[in-house]
Point group: C2
Chain length 129, copies 2
DNA sequence: TCCTTAACGATAACGGTTACTATTAAATGG
DNA sequence: CCATTTAATAGTAACCGTTATCGTTAAGGA
């Protein structure tokens, strides 16, 4: 017996995939709680890390603030609003997937790249003019 | 009278520039304390943010862990070790400075990009094989 | 030199995350 | 189908990086 399939873990994974908004652990906790009122915040944290570990989710690299998770494991990059912190996916082929080929830095063994575009989201853009 | 030039602020800026290792506030605090034993950790935090605000330093985007600061304000990117968290600059012209031109995402006003390469630093590479 | 107040040192508070522990409930095997 | 084992949970305390508070110090102009 190694890893058990619990109702909590299933719902956490499902909600993460159903809402590709790169939620924080706490945001996801609130969603999960709507379906499983007695769930614990610690359970959400624990399972998010388990999902990342087994490759079913990713931790995305963002500026500041709490950790954000992504149920979309396809390689892609992100935009983050410098005002409200909201994130979105970057579409198209603008992704720089030439890792490993370029000698990014002498002596380093490069495994991945993450690109974060920073700016104003449509909402904040409208509010600040 | 608006902004005073304190001994603490000078030393903090000098140490940040003298050691381009992208230190955390705490790492820098220890360096500064060697030259100014009575300095407070809060002073280091406060001045780092002031330096970022006035454009004399940058907060770099890294995976996880405490915030890291960079006294080099020239646009450049970073590599971070997934094992020990150490960071280094990415040299050469591999920088993607074509922001603003590309419509990264509909409706967003993009202001900057940060690229983080992830992998093993030479030391960790040697230790893990 | 005096005065104003930005900035400091010390420390408490805060928020996100992790660790701990008694309890619950998946999975296995009789 | 029930008993047994133990992974995982709920609840909560602890942790740690960071920020806020506040009385005191000292930068810099008058």
């Amino acid at each position: 017996m190694q890893r058990r399939q619990t109702r909590q873990r299933q719902i956490i994974r499902d909600e993460l995939i159903a809402h590709p908004t790169h939620p924080t652990a706490d945001e996801l906790y609130m969603r999960v709680k709507a379906k499983l009122p007695r769930v614990s915040l610690g359970t959400v944290y624990r399972n998010l890390e388990l999902l990342v570990e087994e490759g079913a989710a990713r931790r995305i690299v963002v500026e500041d603030g709490p950790k954000r998770y992504d149920g979309n494991t396809e390689p892609h990059h992100h935009v983050q609003c410098v005002r409200c912190g909201a994130t979105a996916d970057v579409m198209g082929d603008a992704t720089h997937s030439r890792t490993g080929s370029l000698p990014i830095r002498e002596g380093w063994d490069i495994q991945a790249v993450s690109v974060l575009y920073k700016g104003l989201c449509p909402t904040c853009r409208a509010e600040t003019g």
